[in-house]
């Protein structure tokens, strides 16, 4: 069973000619089949955690360890992490002009699976996955994220999640900027992947809204660069009622 283990992870970022510590010792274990929601106020370091796990060059790891099934993730390049089974659905997916969605998906699937998917089954696979996410077939011929609406970008991220079948999926504020209909469609996509039992999900969100559609097994409150409190789904209800005030006041400056 795939396990992502994060131990005492410390991360800094360079900003305005100064080094700022964003993550101050994060401990978290995510196992295949589990869903963890990470909730926290803006600036608490949630997205930094997501991007650091994926290997974004902007972030410097200064301490701690991250392993996937015992393998040292921090030693891997960004593409190696993806091929090892980590997937990051981004809050702000990047436009890649000149590269069509269909070409991108196939190139990515080829890299992740280690061989080119058979054309015939692949076309069907993509078509069906797009239909489930209410995506128009013409979408495949557009350039990656170019001119996509916020909702289209997020559907496209979840489409990749469904096609690439990672061991660990990190969803960075996938719910932000979505209307209720889009949120439902996207959540259903995440749930289909979760129901396979093959993926461990790390759901990063500012709002409790998405947790009505995606039920977490564990909820963690993230504040001031570390996990301030962990609990079950009931912790989300408490946050819904009380907000983040007690964590922001009690913690260091966010």
């Amino acid at each position: 069973m795939a396990t992502l283990e994060i131990r005492d992870l410390r991360v800094t970022v360079e900003a305005d000619n100064a080094t700022k510590e964003i993550l101050k010792g994060v401990d978290l274990t995510v196992k295949q089949g589990e869903t963890h929601a990470i909730m926290g106020p803006n600036g608490s370091g949630k997205s930094t955690l997501a991007y650091s796990l994926a290997g974004h060059p902007k972030y410097t790891i200064t301490g701690g360890s991250v392993t996937l099934d015992g393998e040292d993730v921090l030693e891997m390049s960004v593409d190696e992490r993806a091929r090892a089974g980590l997937f990051l659905a981004m809050q702000y997916p990047v436009e890649v002009p000149g590269v069509s969605v269909s070409n991108f998906l196939r190139t990515s699937a080829t890299a992740i699976r280690g061989e080119a998917p058979k054309l015939r089954t692949w076309v069907k696979e993509v078509k069906e996955a797009m239909e489930r996410l209410n995506m128009d077939p013409s979408f495949a011929e557009r350039n990656v994220n170019e001119g996509f609406s916020g909702g289209e970008k997020k559907r496209h991220e979840i489409l990749q999640l469904e096609l690439l079948k990672p061991k660990i999926a990190i969803l960075d504020e996938t719910d932000s900027g979505l209307d209720v209909d889009a949120l439902r469609v996207v959540s259903e996509g995440v749930n289909r992947v979760r129901e396979s039992g093959e993926v461990g999900t790390l759901l990063i969100t500012h709002y409790t809204r998405i947790l009505r559609y995606i039920k977490p097994d564990h909820v963690h409150v993230f504040a001031a660069g570390r996990i301030a409190e962990s609990g079950g789904a009931e912790l989300a209800d408490q946050l819904e009622a009380e907000g983040y005030d007690k964590y922001v006041k009690g913690g260091a400056s966010a």
Binding site: D79, F87, V96, S108
Partner: protein, 393 residues
């Protein structure tokens, strides 16, 4: 985070639309067009038409010191049946009819060549195979002139393929009879040291269609002037270009579409990728709509993709309109950067860095490559793009 950074260091884009009595296209040149090299002063580098060009790398083409070596160049022509291929002397009346040299090197080429090539496709002859002109440099200095003339309603594809090493100044005339259709692919696939300067003049007959692909990969310095004028109404020109500028290379394309006749169309699209230190691409796109050219429809576009630090693009679209009675006129220029965020996004989907770069560059060029319509050239370009990318990754 994850904001795309679109303006790379070391790129300029300056554009203007002039609606004025005085032609900026004309005033930009330091001397009027002439076939005689003596009519042009030796450039010092500050002239508008020379300011982007490193004169010291022209190997004497600009100041009269580059003397033809006699064995510098092998030109072979492969033509389907029905086409006339001739080598003629300087006094042949068919030379120089499509346009007059606009700078000193083009005039030097016209003043210095000894023999010229003339390829004629008779009227109403429709070729099914391309005419291929292989220009192979063998390390010498050469001057040349080539004419390609299509009779009325003739149709042809011409591929001019430049390889090897040479210091070459050569002009090409394309003359299209009424209703003729000519597609030209000029490939500059030179070795690293080559210098190639030339002016390509197209004179488009009534209702004729001219389609040009200028593809520049190689050379130390390549500076070309693709130019179009119309001999009758209803003419159409499509000028496409691709360039891949590597470390240390200077590749300059200076276009002029002279809408001197009513009811003609032009569409210009040039795309370039740059990588490496001191890679320098220059694109000048001049479109002139003369007062008499009512009903003109024109658009020009230049896109650049900067793959690494240290490369520089100068892109100058210039549209000059002397009549308001036109269908449309526009221009666009943009220089983007293949940035770390795009690379991160593709890599985060398992795609290795070199493949990510290839995906983006192939995608960037694909729409132009696909329009060439000559299979072996299209394939070779894609292979060439991959080779260029592998050279640095």
């Amino acid at each position: 985070m994850a904001e795309a950074q679109n303006i790379p260091v070391g790129s300029t884009t300056a554009g203007q639309i002039a609606v004025a009595a005085e032609s900026t296209v004309a005033t930009r040149m330091s001397a009027p067009p002439s076939f005689d090299v003596a009519d042009f002063p030796v450039p010092h580098g500050r002239e508008e038409e020379w300011r982007f060009t490193p004169l010291e790398r022209l190997r004497g083409l600009h100041d009269g010191t580059a003397v033809a070596t006699g064995d510098g160049l092998q030109v072979t022509v492969e033509a389907p049946e029905g086409v006339t291929v001739e080598t003629v002397g300087r006094d042949d009346a068919r030379l120089g009819k499509a346009g007059t040299p606009v700078d000193r090197v083009a005039a030097q080429a016209y003043s210095a060549f000894e023999k010229a090539g003339v390829i004629t496709v008779p009227k109403e002859t429709v070729l099914t195979e391309p005419i291929r002109i292989a220009v192979r440099g063998e390390g010498g200095v050469a001057y040349g002139h080539q004419v390609v003339e299509l009779g009325a309603f003739a149709e042809a594809v011409v591929v001019i393929d430049h390889t090897g090493d040479a210091v070459l100044a050569a002009n090409v005339d394309y003359i299209l009879g009424d209703g003729a259709k000519l597609t030209v692919v000029s490939v500059q696939d030179w070795d690293d040291k080559a210098v190639h300067v030339g002016q390509h003049n197209a004179l488009i007959g009534r209702d004729a269609t001219f389609k040009s692909f200028v593809v520049t990969f190689g050379g130390d310095l390549v500076r070309l002037h693709p130019r179009v004028a119309y001999a009758g109404t209803g003419g159409e020109a499509e000028l496409f270009g691709l360039y891949f500028t590597d470390a240390g290379q200077h590749q300059e394309h200076r276009l002029l579409v002279d809408h001197n006749t009513p009811h003609c169309k032009s569409n210009v699209a040039y795309k370039g990728a740059l990588q490496g230190d001191d890679a320098h691409a220059v694109w000048i796109g001049d479109v002139l709509i003369e007062a008499k050219a009512e009903g003109t429809d024109t658009y020009e576009m230049n896109r650049n993709l900067v793959l690494t630090d240290g490369a520089r693009v100068d892109s100058v679209p210039n549209l000059e309109i002397e009549t308001g009675e036109i269908v449309g006129a526009g221009h666009a220029s943009a220089t983007g950067r293949f940035d770390d965020e795009q690379l991160f996004y593709l890599m985060a989907r398992g795609i290795p860095a070199d493949e990510a770069r290839r995906l983006v560059v192939r995608g960037f060029f694909a729409e132009l490559v696909q329009q060439i319509g000559v299979d072996d050239i299209e394939e070779r370009l894609l292979v060439k793009i991959d080779e260029e990318l592998e050279a640095t990754v």
